[in-house]
């Protein structure tokens, strides 16, 4: 078998293919159909869900010498990536040349740029506000961690240093790497701001990275040594924690650490993976298993349950996020029929509303057809 044989056979097969020529009207008609689907689906639906949308800055060029004008935005503006389109919280849309099957994280910065971490190619991509690719960065870990106000995103670069990308600044800046033994890769647990990142080994949060270095000296007094920070409240006062599971636990417990009192002020072993609501009054939790989420629950600041999300029989929760302080966005997939929908629930898990779909999609064990911004 030679390359020549192979080339010859491909050409021979292809040369026999003759289809009915497509006219311009054929293509334009299909384009309009795609456009309608995009608009009627992602854009209109999500825009309706996030009724009190935060007005993001106008789409900017984003690649001039002076960078991008920053425009602070309150938290809570969840964006949705579906079928190659990112729909921002204000309903504006941008096409991205990415496939959800390859995407592990999405972050929309306040200057409109979209930061995507990919499984294939294993990298971080930064897209300009107009959807064009600004840059692709090789990484050690394809995870993006964003600050609570979406002004900053950070990742672990290929050379183990941390890269921090701020809204309004064209290029990411380099920060020291996560202190880890050997060539182990550490995680960025939380981005407090561009100059303060909480990092650890993926199990516990143990150090703070600043422009000057990385070390445990910056960690708060009495921070538990068996906990990892999973989220930071919008006002920065509370850190959501995940404790190392004990011998008889599968998932471990969660808690809240108060930076005013330097104590764990709430603890629960009935929920997992907490993220704060946009107003900081509630937290959303669930158990991540096999790329899906079980027991989606909303709790208050005492970590007491407020409500839980129940999907139809035969369907599962793929991803969850806060739509606004009073509503959840949930990507739901049918295990039997492969039909996906974007649904909205009230805080207490009631009033389910299908805001997009159902549409055909992939196996939820392998893909999230609706990816929500971090």
């Amino acid at each position: 078998m030679t390359e020549e044989t192979f080339v010859r056979e491909l050409e021979r097969r292809a040369d026999h293919v003759h289809g009915v020529p497509l006219s311009f009207d054929d293509v334009r008609g299909k384009a309009r159909s795609i456009q309608r689907r995009r608009r009627a689906g992602a854009a209109a639906a999500v825009a309706a869900v996030v009724a009190l949308a935060v007005v993001l800055p106008a789409v900017l060029g984003g690649h001039g010498e002076r960078g991008i004008e920053p425009a602070p935005s309150p938290r809570g503006d969840t964006a949705v990536l579906h079928d190659g389109v990112v729909t921002r919280a204000d309903g504006s849309r941008v096409d991205l040349e990415v496939d959800n099957a390859d995407v592990t994280d999405v972050t929309v910065l306040t200057d409109g740029r979209v930061v995507v971490s990919l499984q294939q190619p294993y990298s971080i991509r930064v897209y300009r506000a107009d959807g064009s690719l600004q840059e692709q960065y090789p990484v050690q870990l394809n995870m993006v961690t964003a600050s609570a106000d979406d002004s900053t995103a950070a990742w672990v670069a290929e050379d183990f240093t941390i890269r921090v990308l701020e809204s309004g600044v064209t290029e990411p800046v380099e920060r020291p790497g996560v202190p880890m033994p050997g060539e182990a890769v550490g995680l960025i647990d939380a981005v407090l701001d561009a100059d303060h990142l909480l990092v650890g080994d993926g199990t516990t949060t143990s150090a703070v990275v600043t422009p000057d270095g990385a070390g445990s000296a910056g960690m708060p007094t009495d921070f538990p040594t068996d906990a990892r920070v999973t989220d930071v409240s919008p006002d920065g006062r509370l850190w959501a924690l995940s404790f190392i599971p004990r011998a008889n636990q599968q998932y471990g417990c969660v808690g809240l650490f108060d930076l005013h009192t330097f104590t764990v002020v709430a603890r629960s072993c009935d929920v997992s993976g907490l993220t704060f609501s946009p107003d900081g009054k509630h937290l959303l939790g669930g158990y991540y298993e096999n790329n899906m989420i079980g027991d989606v629950t909303v709790v208050d600041l005492d970590l007491q349950p407020v409500g839980s999300v129940a999907t139809d029989r035969g369907s599962v929760v793929s991803r969850m996020a806060w739509a606004d302080p009073d509503h959840l966005l949930v990507g739901v997939a049918g295990l039997e029929d492969g039909r996906w929908s974007l649904q909205r629930f009230a805080l207490d898990g009631r009033d389910p509303e299908t805001v997009e779909g159902p549409v055909d999609g992939g196996n939820p064990e392998q893909v999230a057809e609706y990816q929500f911004s971090e």
């Binding site: 078998m1 044989t5 021979r12 096409d95 492969g338």
Partner: protein
């Protein structure tokens, strides 16, 4: 030239070739026609920001590859799997090449979709490794390794009796 006239000129000039590429990617004429129409429609939507870059072909190839992967995933039960064994069929013996072509084609169709995209772009579209990497959004190293793996797979899985290297060449025949 206005937008639609410009696009129509591209459509008329390139669609026959693009359909052939789509066929090699999908292995099925109907799927290829669907893939081509959808890809051209997406190209049309992005025409204003693509046409002035001089890389329209690269853009539409990329759409085709991504769209082909997406089409295959819907519905998810059809998710691709790479097969280690060939379908148990009798190879069609072409008179001119003693069945080598049919055997090669059967093997190509068992390659994983992404690997198939690499070899189609490299050996049918005659793109360089760098150009292939650009279209697929992967590294040149990945293109090299996938190409090498695909060719090795083709060599390993071509029935020995159909492999040209195992057949006597002129002068060796008794």
């Amino acid at each position: 030239m206005d937008r639609d006239t410009d696009f129509t000129a591209y459509l008329e000039a390139r669609q026959a070739r693009l359909l052939r590429t789509a066929y090699l990617l999908t292995g099925d004429q109907h799927q290829a026609e669907d893939l081509l129409q959808t890809s051209l429609a997406k190209l049309y939507l992005a025409w204003d920001r693509v046409r002035d870059r001089g890389s329209v072909d690269a853009y539409v190839r990329r759409i085709m590859v991504n769209e082909n992967n997406s089409m295959w995933r819907r519905p998810w039960k059809r998710r691709e799997t790479a097969h280690e064994t060939l379908p148990d069929t009798v190879p069609v013996i072409d008179t001119y090449d003693e069945g080598v072509g049919a055997a090669v084609w059967a093997i190509v169709q068992t390659l994983p979709r992404r690997a198939r995209a690499v070899v189609v772009l490299r050996y049918y579209e005659q793109l360089s490794e760098a150009e292939t990497a650009e279209v697929l959004g992967i590294s040149v190293g990945t293109v090299k390794s996938q190409t090498s793996r695909a060719l090795a797979s083709l060599r390993e899985r071509t029935p020995a009796e159909l492999s040209p290297s195992d057949r006597p060449t002129f002068g060796e025949e008794e």
